[in-house]
Symmetry: C3
Subunit: 664 residues, 3 copies
């Protein structure tokens, strides 16, 4: 547990640097990220490097006792480089280059840019790889931001063809796998294949899915190049990348596999505003963020980080980039920091030390205002720093790693596949994964978010949000885990090639969940279908509703005796069936019903739950329990007679935090 | 009356074909449409045809006693053809080619594609023109789908100039007809005229309307080429094309004039979701479709078909292409089939035999599921087949053609004109034509939907939805028909050249409806204007409202004695006037008021009506009466003591069908 | 006070001209604007002018005693000119030319077009500059209409670089001023700078603001060229341009500085429909227009016109170009005319004499219908003409110029800056300026709308809507005026270079308003923050709310004693503070609270107010008071015992007008 900050010495007079470093240290900050946008200062003229200023900046920080996270500056190639190699610019779906003048204006498939990146990364890594103040590295910045994973350049198409050749070997196999006979889309050679863009109506879904997979692999390939250069020149320094909240345009697991630290940039208020939440939900959590949004991301990145994950950028006040940008409530910067540590973070690094008075992000708050006074967020960071010292002093296992009883399987291909082939216009995979996660959190459960190929042994409850493509061994691994397993609708509904399984969904999972989804239905937003539990007490009422989606299950065609139909839709079709330890939800249920079912299934799994409602959240790390109050009402903990409070007390005010060690 | 199915032998192993054919026949299917997307299999390499598989497929179907509808495969030119002739691709309004990778990626004006189409059509027609199993032909597939009528290519502009030359002879006449003096848009030669696209603000409306007429003529020209080739090589086999529900981008009457059968593709649920209906209406008819939507299309295509029209593709279950895709209620596939026959269909052909497990439409249901089990729709089709046998056995005139007492005039140019020149943003011609139709259907009336140049003698009631351009002889033909005539607002409001008539609207119709529309008003969706009937009993209440539009009528300037003002708007202007047998509606009234007025006018026409409400619909064909219940309540027929029921009984359950012969 | 009309002789047979001129004169019209779209008739063939028809038209008008407003025809270059110089077409943000076929299809930066414009303007000015019937000139038509100020052509970029060079001298200074070090956007020479368009994410705001300033200057440069040509050939004739309601894409003050008359085109119903008003507000004022919308524009253009401003085009009935186009209530054309004169108009000129039966605007009403009968608007114009004679006969000072006690500062850069850098998606500067104006008008106040560099002495109350950039001397000029000054939120929040001021907002205004805005917050539309007045009587209730925006004020860091916190937000932050004569509103308050605060501050300024509500408006010009009733209820004036009514009486019907001389 430690604090960090993002700092841009190139934005400020050199005369301020020493004071900045001193004040950072005094505030309790231990690490400082620098230089990720500084290419035009590192190399102001082609081939002529200017390291002087950066040498001095690193020295000043090091002299103050701060550890530097050095970045490669590849997110912002300078204008002279673009003018020399216009093919660096990515090509949009409209066929036009995406121009210089902001950031991320590069095509992952551009050979010019790959070479230029190798050169600048090598230069930076050679220069600072063994500098005593440089303790960590960051590659690039926020891969995928501003929808920059996909490019439709000739370079990308050329590399896509190579990628397809490697995957399918022959074009005949590709034609078979995709089913191009449909609509006479058959190819005679890989060279006939273009990017799936600008077609008259929807392009072939398998073609689109493969293009997404290819583009994702390009990101991993590009990052790997940078990591290898850094490791060659800076051995022993962990390498991180700062991912973004809920970004899904590439497979983060694949990129993280090459890193030491999966970091992410946490903006709870901007994230709330820009995501799928309904307007009333956005108003409800306006100045605190949704109680499960940061947590969900913490658990996503924790699940892919070799070392403890970081929050590389923590929102310190209002930001500039959402449609509307409210101010956090007092206390929220502190609460968000503790939420991160409670979920296993190694570092929380605030973005940025001081608000810049110019350019695109001048309205983005920092720990200090542009006139260099400590802002609210700065004061709260100082409080967190002090509290960290208290916690660490008293709890040897405060930095323990986390292993939960509950796993939620999270998958990037699912997002792409459902986006390409939604069947219902609002079928948004991250939302539905989040809703399952949120239901578990409302029951007081700690959750590991894991990839589909993760080891599953040791979990007591495994929740699988809609997962269209499942690995061949998934059924067996789920079964052998001994856990209760919840399968969302559409799970097992597609093959690797984006075809319907020969045995119909759930495809390979039919081995453990013996049913046949013979029909599906997507529902418009003003329609729901009532759900009735088999053991419902009240003969008249419905127990909840399905929204957006339902599967029609043929539950009698396989081993009928093994199936327990636990709920029906109003028209009589099964809504929830159980077979052994496997639970299949044939629709996307409302939040209350989801919580109710998960509580029951957790009970069958022998996992204790509590009913937290929507405002208070609990996490456990080592022997410490963290309780955070996102709501506007005071929350009083019950049954904590034997708790030793390290921070706070059993009465938790709005925006309050309590941390206690349980003595039982 | 017979059933058909759409089948894709190229999608399945040859080993399945014989069983498929046998099961089709056993189910009661008599005709099978094939090959409309099979170009890449017919000609896998440029100039090298592979007919073997198709020969075998046709033989297998013929051997099973099935009649084949053979298609030209021009809706999906293969990749090698596009690579050889990139000018085949249509050019979008954004100036970019619409790419290969889905379907309909061709420009009707491309000379390369015209020649290539001649070649492949000739090859197919030569090969199968006299095959004993080939009983019918289909040209291409769904002309206009995915907005493919309009292209902005150089080839299109060149042919447009020729088209203008033929229409106007001299550029001076064009300048006069369009009124190009406005905004200095005058042309000095036809070669100066471009496509009306990408202009700074709206392009000239007459220019736009002529471009729409030209593009429509290109479709007719292209289809005619195919029909002539087929007729040359396959004499005596009727030629069809499968139009789409409510498509309006070309003049279907002109294309149908070259065909024997006007067929259409009926998707009641997708149609409901994708059309103008309000969200609550979409929810109301979610799983049944709107009771008048399929009927409206049946009557549209019946009105342009030389032989009995067909439903070439009948929705058999959930589809894949609407924003949301609900499942039909049990019974609806049967009900839709009988709705088609009740309206005069010669064939109802289901799309498709078996759901494909791959490509764009893998989520589109078929009569069989992908694992080759008969789906709900398949069972209902079998029921319909059995019922057809019953009906035909007992009723010699079951296949009678239909001639109604009521005609509704339907026009494609009206759609284009109002789209180009709406004056009110939501003035959607097909919607308003549909609302008039629906009001007539709610009164139990059978309706012929006819073009503006149709013979009108014999009708008792003629309803004209807003029809901006009327032929010179229209007033005389309406008058000589002896029918009561209802004219919607905006009728006669424009000349052929899209100018305001010299005598103001209703232009040439002033001869029979002596008024002058001196002002018009479009109303935003949250505004209505109350309407008050002259014979209203209740002094206080309004009798209904106008929405979207009203005409301001000068009813006193012509022969005032001949005009009967039957309703006023709240501000005193006339809302409904009558002159002899002509009724002019000066606004778009709400549904209830429209039904009330139409009932009154039908009474004056001596046409009996009944009040059916919104869920039950009645049609008559020959001596049989068909009653269909789209609602969720049981409907009991009154006054049918002398009815002999062929299907069902006087008590009609939801989604139920009754057919009876009246003995009086 | 006089009436005019817009006339297009080229649209009508020459045989009609004399009768048209005679009827205009008889109706009371004195001036006629012609020829602004007639280039293709003036020069039908390149270089060959045809002046004959125009000579005759001007002669006919002159002979009837009408004064001609002659126009340059540059808003509609003919097709042959475009074909010769395709670089005339402006380039859209999508990189494509905006095509010929409507109007305003030219790039202000095109050297070809600048030369062609010089040539045609010289030809027209030479021909008619000294014609006795030509009394005035109009340059071009509606600069900026259809978003034509911005072009992204190479010509524009080239001139932009020159503009930047002139502004910044060195690229180093530009880099500093913009802050290009952020995201490595530094330039090494002016030639590296492109237009700020098509970037991956938002382009640099200072770059965008400068491009807006540059494009605005191009309009002024282009207009100045025309004015200089006209003045050279037609000395003594005032030159006007017809601006548009609420257009903000260029700095109208800069263009007007070269003109004699700032005219504008008033379409109250189209304006209501197309602006920001909520749907219920649009329905409320559907057929009258918003009571303050035309007035606001009158006062904007009055404030920049050397001679009395004109309404060059007055809506005479329904128009064609809004999404929905309702008909004005009877009396509204008259009311709008008097509203203009009440605000100081020199001329109200109706658009157009007769509705054209062809082309884009055929559904735009005129004073006459297309069949040449006087329409409702024509009759009301005749009534106004008669009333003008009455007013002028009895009141020598009826044409007096206006100088109000209240000034509202209005600024075009503010619109651009907030559009580029909104921080809250719905921060629409003209709306918030209008809301302040409307609050003043609801208090019965006459308002001068003035630029930021206007002399301020003599005003008693100065209202400054959100004004991000303030001149260096603004604080001093405000202070020395002696007026009470209201500053809206965000005032002084940016430097000229679009940076945050070093001392934080309100920047230079801190000299007179000693506070520090240390944080801001934008609020989504479904969120408000309650405001509580310090002197509120009722302990429980809120006094109003802030919407969209609030500033967080540090009111204690400067001279705390001088600050009076007069209202707080619900969370305790100051909402309204006063320092001496300066009032700072830290949020955008609801209408009722704004009216309440302005009434109180006007009282402190010694300016009398009355409470008019939302329907009745009062203006004073010379010794006459004008009262206009936009509402649907009769309004009876109180306290007018000594009033001598020139038009109407103290009882004012809906859509009624009263004009009286006060004898006290």
């Amino acid at each position: 547990m430690r604090l960090g900050v993002c700092y841009y010495p190139e934005h400020w007079p050199e005369s301020m640097w020493e004071d900045d470093a001193r004040r950072m240290k005094a505030l309790g900050i231990e690490q400082v990220r620098i230089a990720e946008f500084a290419w035009s200062r590192m190399e102001p003229t082609p081939g002529e490097y200017d390291w002087g200023w950066l040498d001095r900046a690193v020295d000043v920080l090091g002299a103050a006792g701060l550890q530097v996270v050095m970045c490669t500056p590849t997110a912002t190639p300078p204008k002279w480089l673009i003018d020399r190699h216009p093919d660096i610019l990515p090509i949009g779906a409209d066929g036009r280059p995406r121009a210089f003048g902001s950031r991320r204006h590069y095509d992952f498939s551009s050979p010019s840019y790959f070479a230029a990146s190798q050169r600048i990364c090598t230069a930076v890594a050679e220069r600072y790889g063994k500098h005593p103040a440089v303790a960590y590295w960051q590659t690039d910045n926020e891969f995928g931001c501003h929808h920059t994973v996909l490019s439709y350049s000739q370079a990308a198409v050329g590399r896509f063809r190579e990628w397809l050749k490697a995957r399918y070997q022959t074009v005949e196999e590709l034609n078979r796998a995709w089913g191009t006979v449909f609509w006479s889309m058959e190819y005679r050679s890989f060279d006939e294949i273009d990017a799936p863009v600008a077609t008259v109506t929807e392009a072939h879904p398998s073609h689109r899915l493969d293009y997404r997979r290819f583009a994702s692999d390009e990101v991993a390939c590009y990052n790997r190049m940078q990591v290898e250069i850094i490791r060659a020149h800076s051995p022993g320094r962990p390498v991180a990348h700062n991912f973004m909240q809920l970004f899904t345009e590439f497979d983060h697991y694949k990129v993280a596999a090459d890193l030491d630290v999966a970091a992410w940039d946490s903006y709870p208020l901007g994230g709330l505003e820009e995501q799928w939440f309904a307007p009333d939900v956005k108003a409800r959590w306006l100045r605190s963020g949704h109680p499960d949004f940061a947590s969900f991301n913490h658990d996503v990145y924790r699940g892919m980080s070799k070392l403890p994950f970081w929050v590389m950028e923590q929102q310190p006040g209002p930001v500039n980039w959402a449609q509307w940008n409210p101010a956090p409530l007092p206390g929220m910067v502190r609460l968000w920091s503790w939420e991160a540590f409670a979920h296993g973070a190694g570092c929380v690094s605030y973005f940025r030390w001081r608000q810049a008075p110019f350019a695109q992000e001048q309205m983005h708050a920092g720990l200090n205002t542009p006139d260099n006074r400590l802002d609210v967020g700065g004061n709260e960071a100082a409080q967190v720093a002090a509290e960290i010292r208290t916690v660490l002093a008293a709890n040897a296992d405060a930095n323990a790693s986390i292993r939960s009883k509950v796993a939620l399987v999270y998958n990037y291909e699912a997002k792409w596949l459902f986006e390409i082939h939604p069947q219902g216009a609002d079928f948004h995979y991250p939302r539905f994964a989040f809703e399952y996660y949120s239901a578990l959190r409302a029951l007081g459960l700690d959750v590991d978010i894991v990839p589909v190929d993760a080891p599953l042994d040791g979990y007591r409850l495994i929740v699988v949000p809609p997962l269209p493509v499942v690995p061949a061994d998934f059924a067996a691994r789920l079964a052998s885990s001994g856990a209760q397993v919840v399968l969302g609708p559409r799970t097992g509904s597609k093959t690797q090639d984006l075809q319907i399984p020969a045995n119909l969904p759930p495809g390979a999972l039919a081995a453990v969940m013996p049913l046949r989804v013979w029909r599906v239905e997507s529902m418009r937003p003003n329609v729901t279908e009532a759900v009735r539990l088999a053991d419902s007490k009240d003969a008249a009422a419905e127990d909840g509703v399905a929204r957006h989606w339902r599967d029609f299950i043929d539950a009698g065609s396989h081993a009928p005796d093994s199936l327990d139909v636990r709920a029906h839709f109003a028209d009589g079709h099964p809504a929830y069936v159980k077979s052994g330890a496997f639970h299949y939800l044939a629709g996307l249920f409302d939040d209350a019903l989801t919580v109710r079912l998960f509580a029951q299934i957790a009970g069958e799994a022998g996992v204790d739950t509590i009913s937290l409602g929507d405002s208070v959240r609990i996490s456990r790390r080592g022997a410490l329990t963290y309780v955070l109050n996102y709501g506007d009402q005071t929350h009083t903990l019950a049954n904590v007679a034997d708790a030793a409070f390290v921070i706070g007390s059993r009465v938790i005010e709005p925006q309050g935090v309590a941390v206690y060690r349980s003595n039982t």
